[in-house]
Amino acid sequence: MTSLTPSFCKKAALITAAAVALSPIGAWAQTTTDKTSSSSTASAKPDRWLHVRVISTDGKGETVRVNVPLELAEKVLPAINHDRLHDGKVKIDCAHVNDVDLRALAEAIRNSKDGEYVTVQGNDNDVRVAKQSNYLIVHVLDKGKSKKQQVEIKVPMKVVDALFSAGKDELDLVAALHALSAQGDTELVSVKDEENTVRVWLDSKNVTE
């Protein structure tokens, strides 16, 4: 038996080595390499995340949190073909915008200097539309008797341009998302009333605050 041991050991070592080489350690190493390479790519250009948070204080106190990578939304949107949404573009019904040429309107705003374009102060609503530091800003204060509601929208002009870059009766959502991904951390939409708070914002974190 002792004379057979070296040969046996050699064969056992050979089989073990082959098993190790073929085992998932290889796959694991490959995955790790992939992850390393993807994270190094990611470190060059950090992922941008779109966050939506809805907090309702009425009744049960509902909370909705959605965190979506912008790149994912950009790639997935063209795969949705439903109703007015096709290839990442939404068809606008001209009848619903009262024959206003939205593209021309966006173009006019882009070429104009910073300032307040619309200011309405009424008994029921205050509305303010302005362009400020290359952002289109819309503030609406609904002073309704039952519920007060405040809406704030802040959209980079580049995103507005991209949105209207498609055909006359279309909004290019994919182009808008692409333009948005080049922006820094920013709050896009904020809606507050007595019962609900809605917030939509963009940053590089993959978790909600």
């Binding site: 085992s23 049960k60 795969a79 949705i80």
Partner: protein
């Protein structure tokens, strides 16, 4: 004696390799617990690598049926899963209404769906690579428009 040792080693090696291959993609985990009287309790662990293998023996007509009925959904699901693999772990959706809690997240290359409500808990854990295999096969077998 030597022959027996070689046979044992060969058998052991084969079992280890087969086990490693079977579980190299992880496991699909399904846990359903109904806490009402007579409620069902399902706890299922399936090797994820078994699913693409099983899909190869599913008759093509079943694929056609599924693909046709999920014409809008399948390409979308495939696009989402394919892209999700590229991103780090994240809490994608969380809904809490006080009694019901739904959470969809990615965790270590798996899609995790947890739903808890009074009387019922559902937990799903599916490797993204498995979902990608399944959705890509469904898409590949979709009837052409």
């Amino acid at each position: 004696m030597l022959f027996l040792a070689k046979a044992a080693l060969g058998l052991g090696g084969t079992i280890v390799l087969a086990g490693a291959y079977t579980f190299h993609e992880g496991v699909i985990r399904v846990d359903v617990d109904e806490s009402r009287a007579g409620g069902s309790h399902v706890h299922m662990w399936v090797p994820a690598a078994a699913v693409p293998m099983a899909l190869h023996i599913v008759p093509k007509r079943h694929f056609m049926y599924t693909s046709e009925h999920g014409r809008d959904f399948v390409p979308l699901a495939y696009a989402i899963v394919k892209e999700l693999k590229k991103f780090p772990d994240a809490e994608l959706i969380e809904v809490d209404d006080g009694t019901q809690h739904v959470r969809i997240r990615t965790h270590e290359g798996k899609l995790q769906i947890d739903e808890t409500e009074p009387g019922q808990d559902v937990h799903l854990l599916i490797p993204l690579s498995t979902l990608e295999d399944v959705t890509s096969q469904l898409e590949a077998n979709a009837p052409s428009a």
